[in-house]
């Protein structure tokens, strides 16, 4: 499970560096996200632009990390590919996330972020 993180002030930028966010990696994704979070983080951006496929376990893990972040932090999803966006829409989970519109590179998306493997 690749999870790339960068801290900028109180913002935690996390990029899931996996083409498939599925049952094979969902638990590790959640665990690694938990490790990256700390009390000083106020805003979380989860970049899913590398993810081409998400299944119900992957979706459940994204909901779990939203809950880990908690209501006191802002939480934004970015870079949803069409197939991923479709799963959020079909399950109506698009209604509970702040989702950045597709297209346009993020100004804060680092070219080289700290890469973690595991």
């Amino acid at each position: 499970m690749q999870l790339e993180t960068r801290r900028t002030g109180d913002q935690l930028y996390v990029r899931a560096g996996e083409a498939r966010l599925d049952a094979a990696v969902a638990i590790r994704f959640k665990d690694r996200f938990r490790d990256a979070l700390d009390d000083a983080v106020r805003r979380v951006v989860l970049d899913l632009s590398q993810v081409e496929f998400i299944d119900s376990s992957g979706l459940g893990a994204v909901v779990a990390v939203l809950k880990l972040a908690g209501p006191e932090r802002s939480f934004t999803l970015a870079g949803l590919n069409p197939a991923v966006e479709k799963v959020f829409r079909l399950t109506r989970m698009d209604t509970v996330f702040t989702i950045e519109p597709a297209g346009g590179a993020r100004a804060d998306a680092p070219d080289a972020v700290r890469a973690g493997t595991g």
Binding site: D22, A24, F53, S56, V63, A64, A83, T95
Partner: protein, 161 residues
Amino acid sequence: MNGAPWNRIADIHNLMPGTAQATRRNVGFVAAIARRRTGCDPDRVETVLAEVLNNVVEHACRNRAGHVVGLEVWLLPRDIWVRVTDDGLPMPGAQLPEAKATPPEALPEGGFGLSLIRRLARDLRYRREDGRNILTFRVSAETAPRVSAPRRPAERRTAGV
């Protein structure tokens, strides 16, 4: 499948271990062929097949090693038929459960799989026979074919995973 249709593009017959890793490989393999060779929405095929196999791995095989899952796929120009068989536990009451309807605001972390299957698959059928679960379904092209489907004799493919 009884009376397999004459105009199939390809058949896939594979045996896989009942694991998440094997699910990942096989789902990707089938979706790639669907993308290249049929008019069916490959995202839809990928989602339904992944959720069906996830359920088999999690509930029938209980994430324990040693189970063998049969995956058979018949690709037609505008339809994909799938049969998944396994030697795991039967479905409760020997029938397909209804999808749970947890409101999104409750932030459910599960229960999405069956509702995705029921929304995206057609002719979904389950039976228990000779100690095996047998699930069949179809995924169809919704609109005009994405590609001009090639007409060539059916060929047999094996995932080799």
